[in-house]
C-alpha cells in the first residue's frame, strides 16, 4: 500500500485531525457562547481565559509551520494547498468586521457551531443554516464582482 498521495490515508488523517480539533474546541470552552461573549466583553466583566486558546495554539503552530514551510510538499501529498492572496483589501476588512459582529452577537464562530450540531438545538441549526446562506451569498457576490 503506497502512503504518498493516498486518498484513503489522507482521509483518515483528516478524520483524526477533525476529531482532535473538535475535542480542542470543547475542552477550551470555545463552544460555550456565554464564555465567548465574556471573552469579547473587554469593557465589562472580562473573561480573559479564551485568550489562552489562541496563545497555546500559536505557541506550537508558529514554530511547527516554520519548519513545515521549508518543505516543497507535505509529507504525504505532492503539494500544499495554501491561500495565495497576500492583499489586505476592502473585502478582507469588511468580511472581518461582519464576522466579528456575528461572533459578538451570538458567541459562535463556524467551528463551535458545527460541533454543537450534535446537541440538536434548534437555534444552533438555525445558526448553521443561515451561516451557509451567508457564505453562499458572499461567494455569489464575489463571483459577480470578478466578471
Amino acid at each position: 500500500m503506497k502512503l504518498f498521495n493516498n486518498p484513503a490515508l489522507s482521509g483518515v488523517i483528516a478524520l483524526v485531525s477533525g476529531t482532535l480539533f473538535g475535542l480542542g474546541l470543547v475542552i477550551s470552552g470555545m463552544t460555550d457562547t456565554t464564555k465567548v461573549i465574556g471573552f469579547l466583553n473587554l469593557f465589562g466583566q472580562w473573561d480573559a481565559s479564551l485568550m489562552f486558546v489562541m496563545a497555546a495554539a500559536l505557541a506550537i503552530t508558529v514554530p511547527a509551520f516554520h519548519f513545515i514551510s521549508k518543505r516543497a510538499n507535505p509529507l504525504l501529498e505532492d503539494r500544499f494547498c495554501l491561500p495565495q492572496n497576500p492583499n489586505i483589501d476592502a473585502r478582507l476588512l469588511i468580511g472581518a468586521v461582519l464576522f466579528g459582529i456575528g461572533w459578538g452577537l451570538y458567541g459562535f464562530c463556524p467551528g463551535p457551531a458545527i460541533v454543537s450540531l450534535s446537541s440538536f438545538n434548534n437555534d444552533t441549526l438555525i445558526f448553521v443554516a443561515t451561516m451557509l446562506v451567508g457564505m453562499a451569498v458572499a461567494e455569489r457576490l464575489s463571483r459577480d464582482k470578478s466578471h
Binding site: 489522507s10 488523517i13 478582507l92 460541533v115 451561516m131
Partner: protein, 142 residues
C-alpha cells in the same frame, strides 16, 4: 478561575496539534469556514480525488465532541438563550463575513497567524475588535 485557563491552554494545544497534523501530512489549512463551505460547494464534484477529506474532517469535528459528551461524560455547555432571530442574524454575518474575508478564527487566527501572514493578523485584529465592540454595544442595549 485558574482551571479555565488550563482548559483553554489544553484546548488550544489540541487545536494547534490538529492544525499541524493536517498541514504537515496533507498540506491543508485547518480553517473551518473554508472546509465547511468547500465541502458543500463541491458536492457536485464528488468524484474529485480531493473531495472527501473535508467531510471526514467535519465528521471528526462533530463525532469527537459527541463521544466526549456521551462516552467520557464531558459536560456540555449551556445553550445560548439569545433566541432564533439573533441566531439567524449572527449566522448570516459569520457566514458572509468568513467567506468575504476568506477565513475565520481558525483559518486566520490560528493557521494564518501560524504562517506569520500579515493579512491574517490584520483580519484577526479586525474581527476581534469588531466582536468586542459588538458585545460592548449589546451590553449597553440590554
Amino acid at each position: 478561575m485558574p482551571e479555565s485557563f488550563i482548559y483553554a491552554c489544553l484546548g488550544g494545544l489540541l487545536i494547534g496539534l490538529a492544525s499541524i497534523m493536517l498541514l504537515a501530512l496533507t498540506g491543508k489549512v485547518a480553517g473551518i469556514s473554508g472546509i465547511f463551505w468547500r465541502a458543500i460547494q463541491n458536492i457536485p464534484d464528488a468524484k474529485h480525488r480531493d473531495y472527501n477529506w473535508r467531510w471526514l474532517f467535519l465528521t471528526g469535528l462533530i463525532i469527537g465532541p459527541l463521544l466526549a459528551y456521551q462516552v467520557l461524560g464531558f459536560a456540555q455547555p449551556a445553550a445560548s438563550e439569545a433566541g432564533p432571530i439573533l441566531a439567524a442574524i449572527a449566522g448570516l454575518c459569520v457566514g458572509f463575513g468568513s467567506r468575504l474575508g476568506n477565513g475565520c478564527t481558525s483559518g486566520h487566527g490560528i493557521c494564518g497567524i501560524g504562517r506569520l501572514s500579515i493579512r491574517s493578523m490584520t483580519a484577526t485584529i479586525t474581527f476581534m475588535a469588531s466582536g468586542i465592540i459588538t458585545v460592548f454595544i449589546s451590553q449597553q442595549i440590554l
